[in-house]
Amino acid sequence: MENILEIKGVQKKYNNFELKNCNIKLPKGMILGLIGENGAGKTTTIKAILNLISIDQGEVCLFGHSLQENEKNCKEEIGVVLDDHFLSPYLTPTDIHKTMEHIYKNWDQTLYFQYLEKFQLPKTQPIKEYSSGMKMKLKIAVALSHHPKLLILDEPTSGLDPIARNEILDIFQDFIQNEEHAIFVSSHITSDLEHIADYITFIHQGEIVFTKTRDDLLDKYGIVKCLEKDFKKIVKQDYIKYRKNRYGYEILIADKKQFKKKYDIQVIDKPTIEEIMVLYVKGEK
């Protein structure tokens, strides 16, 4: 089993939105970051993986088996953090433990309470009195405390201050030290993904625009900055999108080396994932 998660040709139609032909592969030992604007389909994709919604076409495979056949067992091995769904805020972390120990076969009480200590989460305080950062850390603690192999995370660092985000990213990196593990994470905070993701999948208006390794994106992609006269010389196939601003043009290209060989334009910047996203979405062809 090379791929811990495979989404094959998944389609889902809603009234005002459609997820079209979604294909994603996540190999063992890797972190895949799903990026896209609000409403692009990130959460829909995650819901499809977890069978929270039915899909019109396609298949989801987890650990080499179709999700439909083996749902309960698959979910033993998955740790999930969702953005706005969790348990009742009237529960305390200790209550959650009392619930989870009957639900997960591999629930590890010691580990759970260790995480609570580490994150400084008071055990007997109901969640409704928690700050949003604390709630997120609690969700992550619960997700990790049953020794899952795959983490599926929807915006796991939203609401966290930079220090807490760093802490959490460290924990994810620890998790991935085991080659049998993998992480599927959707996030707005592209700078976090720049740090830890191995693969980046960009989804826009329900369609996957690209899946690339982070290296390809950051090392091969480039943003050309030039004036109109130079822009006119560039052939359409050689760039992806461009934007015109007051001072000139910003052009997204996929291969810096080739471009440099072909055109005599010197200013080619290394892009951030955020800049790539914005140019894809807001740029023109």
């Binding site: 977890l50 067992n73 999930v80 969790f86 009742s88 009237y90 009957h102 639900i103």
Partner: protein
């Protein structure tokens, strides 16, 4: 099954703050009953009200779940949709039963204290079964509605249905008066009285079972 146990524990724990309300509710009715004269009436009322109270206590878990958007999260855990529905029904049914039992106990004690006699247990038992059936019908209609329309809308539906039944009954009685048809209830009542407990128990089981089946169907297809 362990998962079902876990889900019921979760429901019990999340209703922590409601427990106090329930206790107060019980105490109020005990106080009311002490101030009453008619002993038998008091007993029946206590049983009905307590069954109702415990039943509603368990039904509140649906509201708590919806408030937290808990269902979507539960489905990411290794629990099947069937288990979620089963756990809810077990929780509601047990709560309602316990309500009836507690009602019977308190009535028994109250009557014993008030009239210094050992009261007729059998009528209490029938009352308990009747209460369970009545509250059970309410719950059985509510749960599938809640699954279909959500906790807020589901509760509104129940009032609509309740009102409808009330209208139906009054309509029937009204017709009976108007048409001067005096339907003789007596033989039916005598017959029923002998087999009452059995009939009630069968009715209770049937009502909950049908509701469970409908609710399962709805929940299995539900999207989050």
């Amino acid at each position: 099954m362990n998962t079902i146990k876990g889900l019921i524990i979760k429901d019990l724990l999340q209703l922590k703050s409601y427990r106090k309300t329930l206790l107060v509710y019980i105490l109020i009715f005990i106080l009311i009953s002490i101030t009453q004269d008619s002993v038998v009436g008091v007993g029946s009322m206590l049983i009905l009200m307590l069954t109702f109270g415990f039943g509603m206590f368990s039904m509140a878990s649906f509201n708590y779940d919806e408030q937290a958007s808990c269902d979507a999260y539960l489905l990411t855990l290794p629990v099947t949709r069937k288990e979620i529905v089963k756990a809810k029904y077990l929780f509601v049914i047990f709560s309602t039963l316990i309500g009836a039992i507690v009602g019977m106990l308190i009535s028994f004690i109250a009557m014993f204290v008030m009239s210094k006699q050992i009261p007729n247990l059998y009528s209490f038992f029938e009352m308990a079964l009747g209460s369970i059936l009545g509250i059970g019908i309410m719950e059985s209609i509510q749960i599938p509605c809640i699954y279909k329309l959500g906790a807020e809308k589901g509760r509104i539906q129940i009032f609509v249905i309740g009102a409808f039944f009330l209208l139906l009954c009054s309509g029937f009685l009204f017709l009976q008066e108007k048409l001067n048809v005096h339907f003789s209830w007596q033989p039916i009542i005598t017959f029923l009285h002998q087999a009452l407990p059995v009939i009630l128990i069968i009715a209770i089981c049937l009502v909950y079972f049908i509701s469970y089946k409908i609710a399962s169907k709805i929940y299995l297809k539900k999207e989050f």
